[in-house]
Symmetry: C2
Subunit: 373 residues, 2 copies
């Protein structure tokens, strides 16, 4: 069995599911045989056990602690990904005759707007479609509807590599945010939000669990007639154990929040590390004399997903091929737009970014010498 | 890190999530660090990778092969558990003005009937409530509605420990079955069914994924207006990768199906082994001079969940306490009815049953000598 360092394996720049920290993977690995001190596999332990109930409540506490949230907020661990939230939100909070404001800033916010709405009314108050989603709006440029049932946006667009630097919307309208790809990657003024959701498979765990944070004042307005698995209030009442939850995935989120608090030292430190990783790579791109061209406007660049192009499609294909051979994995851009994407989620180390840059420098030099540019 | 035999750990008789085979757990453990031959952690691999697409298609094939199903059937891996299926089924197949027939045979079929139905009409054509769900009906005693949109039943009731020995319903009405707790535990004439669903966490994997098998002729009748994550046709079109699926859980199901085919030798062999495990324990109960009393009528006893009582609540508490000390875990009955329950899912060995019986024999002898009965 392989138990050595992950450095023997590939470096994972995938857009998601993404890399998780090695120290957490080691704890996960141990728990497959038997959770230390429990003597049962994490795959076979009851979701009604005291041990698991404690994992859930401790993970709720960790997330509240990391984000500075008080008792006004509830933390949920649900199934179905962000996609399920795209439907649950309007089903829960948009009554007949009401409208909701949405920003269309890229691939994922487009999906949030396209989810079947049973004739419900969404207002797309801004769309970046004409600029191919390479930039983001600012609060000053937007006309928010003060009577909207809620306002929804996506804090980071993984496909296009753009990320908001400010909190969007009005304080007077419930603010809902899809933070799937930058949740717990940096400090955020979470109390400004009424609902935050994030699937785990970027920064905080494996696929199979979605964290939802909901303010009690918004919860009071939720449609009570939805079936239990789609009903925020029912799920909260049962502390995410309305029916059998994804025990394993929640346990990994638990370990990641422990790692963030104890090993990393909180979200300020995590944010600094993620910022260093991204700035190091963007600086390299910006000094490549145009060989590597960042896709997004500089002001809107994502710290999570560095999306760029090479001078030709052929060079991009060669680049991906050579990178893969060297164990630099998952660098292909999203299938909808192509190009190159280096995703730098919490679990990816600064050393991995430095290895990527070493390769990129060498690749550029070789191709330039060959006259391929 | 613990890498030794599971025999150093507890034996898991939990009602679910349940025990998984040790050889499968070892493969899972290895994949946490890096999937052999791939070099990426199972927790960080892309759901769009060729490797994972192959896992999905191979697992579909394995399930079809184990159950002898042809191209008329689709295999899905969904989230949300059986609970989500309780709602998806009527939302998909029950049009206004139609009715569906349900059997109410225990805790879980009661749940399937209570799921919010938006005013839809269910006919409960039989209920075991008055006999405290200790027995099951036979086809001969039931009045099925020949014009029902579908007929739904639960093949095994985990809480009460009763299991159908025959396939229920009419061939002329779509037959839908919740097989969550006996799926792939024995041979079944699967072609008699139009839809089978089973969450993984009893016999085939960890919590977090639900297998759905659906016949194409029933699929054609499904409501097309449901959102993608609740829409069988959308999910089938995308081979369970409509949005990010629970990659890890599906991988474990893959390993279990491989184990069933290659190590066990198919469902006939699995059924024989499960039958031996259950019969050995039931025989012991039946020769305990009434110290251990099986809850279900003999003819309807479950091969998966052996539910029994001791002469007093005090003795049951002592029994559970002593068993736990010896590493016999998860023997408490479901919180709704109490008592003792030994769940004997695929992953639990015959040796574990024999160890349980050794303990039970010793416990009975000791308590009888002390005059506690």
């Amino acid at each position: 069995m392989q138990t050595g360092s992950l450095s023997a394996n590939q470096l994972n720049f995938s857009g998601g599911p993404g890399a998780l920290p090695e120290s957490v993977l080691q704890k996960v690995q141990e728990s497959i045989n038997a959770i230390p001190g429990v003597g049962l596999s994490i795959l076979g332990i009851s979701h009604r056990s005291d041990w698991f109930q404690n994992v859930v409540s401790q993970t709720e506490k960790n997330i509240k602690s990391l984000l500075g949230l008080d008792a006004q907020y509830h933390i949920l661990f649900l199934q179905g990904g962000a996609t399920q939230q795209f439907s649950m939100i309007p089903l829960s909070f948009l009554e007949p005759g009401q409208t909701a404001d949405y920003l269309n800033t890229g691939y994922w916010s487009t999906k949030s707007i396209q989810a079947p709405q049973y004739g419900q009314q969404f207002n797309t108050i801004w769309s970046g479609e004409n600029s191919k989603f390479n930039q983001l709006p600012h609060n000053d440029n937007l006309n928010f509807n003060t009577n909207a049932a809620y306002f929804h946006y996506t804090s980071n667009e993984t496909v296009e590599g753009i990320q908001f630097q400010e909190i969007m919307g009005l304080d007077s309208v419930p603010r809902i945010c899809d933070m799937s790809s930058d949740f717990l990657s940096k400090p955020v003024d979470a109390q400004k939000f009424d609902l935050i959701y994030a699937h785990a498979q970027k920064n905080i765990g494996p696929a199979g669990v979605t964290v939802v944070i909901i303010k009690d004042s918004l919860l009071q307005q939720a449609n009570p007639k939805l079936p239990g698995f789609l009903n925020y209030a029912t799920q909260i009442k049962h502390h995410s154990v309305y029916n059998t939850p994804p025990v394993f995935s929640i346990y990994v989120v638990h370990l990641i929040t422990q790692w963030l608090i104890k090993d990393i030292g909180g979200l300020t430190a995590m944010g600094q590390l993620n910022n260093t990783k991204a700035q190091t790579l963007y600086d390299f791109l910006d000094h490549s004399h145009g060989f590597y061209q960042g896709r997004a406007l500089q002001k809107d660049r994502s710290m999570m997903n560095v999306v760029f192009n090479l001078p030709s499609l052929d060079l991009e294909a060669t680049f991906l091929n050579e990178a893969q051979k060297l164990g630099l994995s998952g660098l292909n851009g999203h299938r909808s737009i192509g190009g190159i994407r280096a995703s730098l989620y919490n679990g990816l180390s600064l050393e991995a970014v430095e290895q990527l840059i070493l390769f990129m420098r060498h690749f550029q030099k070789t191709m330039t010498q060959r006259g391929e540019t």
